[in-house]
């Protein structure tokens, strides 16, 4: 855990005037190698009349703070649930609630962040893989001598496609896992974050795209294997022909020598 004074240098300065003094910050290492900065903001004790305004103010501040890392992309999501609020962006998140709710909220965000980061990393790799599909798809139909030097490159992409499929297979049960029943706050928040970030739909798309990559590079592998095999056969046939020619020549020489002697 780090305190307000230990905020990472990448974050804009946060002072006591910006966040309530009781706010804690944590850095959660994610599966994709990145870090999620999490602000844990206990709701201060205020009278009922001021409650809504206080919550709105905290949500506003947390949203501004989280926006700093979105780089002009989608604004942070604000997820209200049963008197608590989660402000979510890919690198920064904040949880706002009464002190007794914060551990459950923190656990929900940490759990969700791991899965979301893993999915995001897979999506990024798929996008990068899809860039080559246009060029490589032709080789899944026909492979020739000029393409032979790309064998290792295609094998690498096939391995990457299989690796992506394997990661998706591991990730899918965690994403589809139903929330516990009877419901807990952590389960409800996890489910809400999953819905709002459309993780299930993204997973489905990722599976389809990874499937396309796998099919293209499986096809490429088949064509490469066929080409190499047929080339080996051709070479063998030429060797046999050459041997036969040599044999014929030797026979002819032998016959000629016998005849002339």
């Amino acid at each position: 855990m780090i305190t307000t004074s230990q905020i990472p240098s990448t974050a804009p300065p946060i002072t006591a005037e910006v966040f309530p003094p009781a706010t804690r910050f944590e850095r959660l290492p994610l599966d994709d190698g990145g870090v999620l900065e999490l602000a844990i903001m206990p709701l201060p004790a205020v009278n009922a009349a001021d409650h809504d305004a206080t919550v709105a103010e905290l949500v506003g501040k947390a949203t501004d703070w989280a926006s700093a890392t979105t780089l002009g992309g989608d604004p942070p999501l604000v997820v209200p649930l049963y008197g608590t609020h989660v402000i979510w962006s890919q690198r920064r998140a904040a949880v706002i609630g009464t002190a007794d709710r914060l551990p459950a909220m923190q656990a929900a965000v940490a759990d969700f962040a791991d899965r979301e980061a893993e999915l995001r990393d897979i999506e990024r790799r798929i996008v990068s893989g899809l860039e080559h599909v246009d060029d490589d798809a032709a080789l899944a139909f026909e492979f020739d001598e000029q393409s032979l030097h790309r064998r290792r490159e295609l094998a690498g992409r096939f391995r990457e496609a299989v690796s992506l499929r394997q990661r998706l297979v591991v990730l899918a049960p965690a994403i589809h896992r139903p929330a516990p029943q009877p419901p807990t706050l952590a389960g409800q928040l996890g489910e809400r974050l999953r819905d709002r970030t459309r993780v299930v739909e993204r997973l489905e798309h990722a599976v389809e795209q990874a499937d396309l990559l796998e099919r293209v590079y499986t096809g490429c592998g088949d064509r490469v294997a066929e080409f190499v095999s047929s080339r080996r056969h051709a070479t063998l046939e030429w060797v046999i022909i050459l041997l036969l020619v040599v044999e014929v020549v030797l026979l002819a020489v032998d016959l000629l020598a016998t005849h002339t002697s």
Binding site: Y82, D100, R101, P178, Q181, P182, L185, Q188
Partner: protein
């Protein structure tokens, strides 16, 4: 006989199953079709609300769901419904964390133990199949609730399920009580409604049914004729008329069925026995209020919550069914004895009690109130009492199979008092009737 979902669905399925052209007539005593599926509008604003069946059940997590398929076939958009909050003594309990904080850790443990017992008693597959195998276990649901020793935990569970039961725990079976508890678990089923009003389903069926529909025409007498057919006597503003039919499907609520005169001792006795066998009335009362704005915005999550008022009632945020509602609509669903008792009181008294039942943190309802509507559904559904041995599915639909093989009965009360149940019932009758008529 009957222009509710039972009659309309039977006509639709019969039309699809028949191998030769049929002439179908639907008699409806009221001036509208749809029965308990009713989505009227307020008079002070063009805002619709559900006055009858508020939600449909989605069984697709477990198995086939013919109602979901029908809704999809009609191209009707749907909105999922959900809600985990129970309001007790003004405090919102939305999850186990709240339960532990507000009612204490003992109450939380008691609810967790009850939940474990409920899941152990009925699996999702058994829950799914329970429509076909109505409760056989002796004893009432009270016996199961008695397992919860913690009073607050018991009140929490009772408040959660009371309005769905539409009866009291001692008047219903263990299976039906557990069903109404487990329906809150997404692995067992999910809830949804039709976007724009559940009555759109009725409109879609009516648009496809090829039948002579006679509104405001009440069948008062059914008599068997010597040629194995039936003679129906119907009353309307035009007078009384009799007409012969080859087959009759009685798709009426039980109390209306009992009011029809059946000629002939054997026919009358068969129908009397049928009515007596299924006479386990359960009750609903719907109170719906229109507000100038959804003043509770952000405070009700998922479309509804449960209140501990009226022995446990459901409060629907009907505005949540629309993306950007200008007005706010709250609907109270009372069930069981509370519904029966409050149905006898005048509307103002009911509205005052309903508004008083709202927790203070929701906001000042009276300041925003524009209009209210009351719909009384006394004895509209069946309670399925404990230990009751229901007849076989065939026998349920044919009161006198040997003497009157072309007289059928259909209705939600033959199953679990849901729209899904009435669809199963209509499908059963239509298939059978189509086979009988060749």
């Amino acid at each position: 006989m009957g222009g509710g979902p039972g009659g309309l669905l039977t006509a639709l399925f019969l039309q699809r199953a028949a191998t030769r052209p049929l002439r179908t007539t639907i008699f409806e005593a009221g001036d509208r079709l749809g029965g308990k599926i009713l989505t009227p509008a307020f008079s002070s604003a063009p805002v619709r609300y559900e006055a009858g069946a508020a939600e449909l059940y989605d069984y697709t997590p477990v198995g086939e769901d013919p109602l979901r398929e029908l809704v999809a076939e009609f191209g009707l958009p749907t909105t999922p419904l959900g809600g985990a909050t129970v309001v007790m003594d003004g405090a919102a309990i939305a999850n186990l964390d709240d339960l532990g904080t507000i009612l204490g850790s003992d109450a939380r443990r008691a609810v967790e133990a009850f939940d474990l017992h409920a899941h152990g008693t009925m699996t999702p597959r058994e829950f799914y199949a329970s429509d076909d195998a109505l409760p056989q276990v002796s004893g009432s649901f009270t016996g199961v609730l008695d397992r919860i020793r913690h009073p607050a935990a018991r009140r929490y569970v009772e408040s959660m399920i009371h309005s769905d039961l539409a009866t009291e725990p001692d008047l219903t079976s263990i299976s039906y009580g557990l069903q109404n508890y487990l329906m809150n678990h997404p692995a067992y089923m999910r809830l949804y409604c039709i976007t724009g009003g559940n009555e759109r389903l009725i409109d879609a069926i009516v648009a496809r049914v090829d039948a002579d529909i006679r509104l405001a025409t009440r069948v008062v007498e059914v008599a068997a004729t010597p040629g194995a057919g039936f003679n129906l006597v119907a009353e309307s503003v035009r007078g009384t008329a009799a007409a012969p039919f080859d087959a009759v499907v009685l798709a009426l609520p039980l109390q209306h069925l009992a009011a029809v005169r059946f000629r002939g001792d054997e026919l009358a006795a068969a129908l009397r026995q049928h009515c007596t066998r299924f006479d386990h009335p359960a009750h609903y009362l719907r109170v719906t209020a229109l507000f100038d704005e959804p003043f509770w915005r952000g405070r009700i999550d998922g479309g509804y919550l449960m209140l501990d008022a009226f022995g446990g009632c459901c409060l629907y945020d009907e505005s949540a069914r629309e993306p950007e509602p200008r007005h706010g609509v709250l609907g109270w669903l009372l069930g069981g004895n509370a519904a029966k008792e409050w149905a006898t009181r005048d509307d103002d008294c009911i509205v005052a009690a309903a508004l008083d039942s709202l927790p203070a943190w929701l906001g000042d309802a009276r300041r925003h109130l524009l209009e209210t509507r009351i719909h009384r559904w006394t004895a509209a559904v069946s309670a399925l009492p404990g230990g009751w041995r229901p007849p076989s599915i065939d026998r349920r639909h044919q009161p006198a199979p040997a003497a009157f093989p072309l007289l059928f009965v259909t209705g939600d009360y033959l199953y679990d008092s849901t729209l899904n149940g009435v669809l199963d019932s209509a499908d059963h009758v239509a298939g059978w009737l189509a086979a009988e008529l060749g």
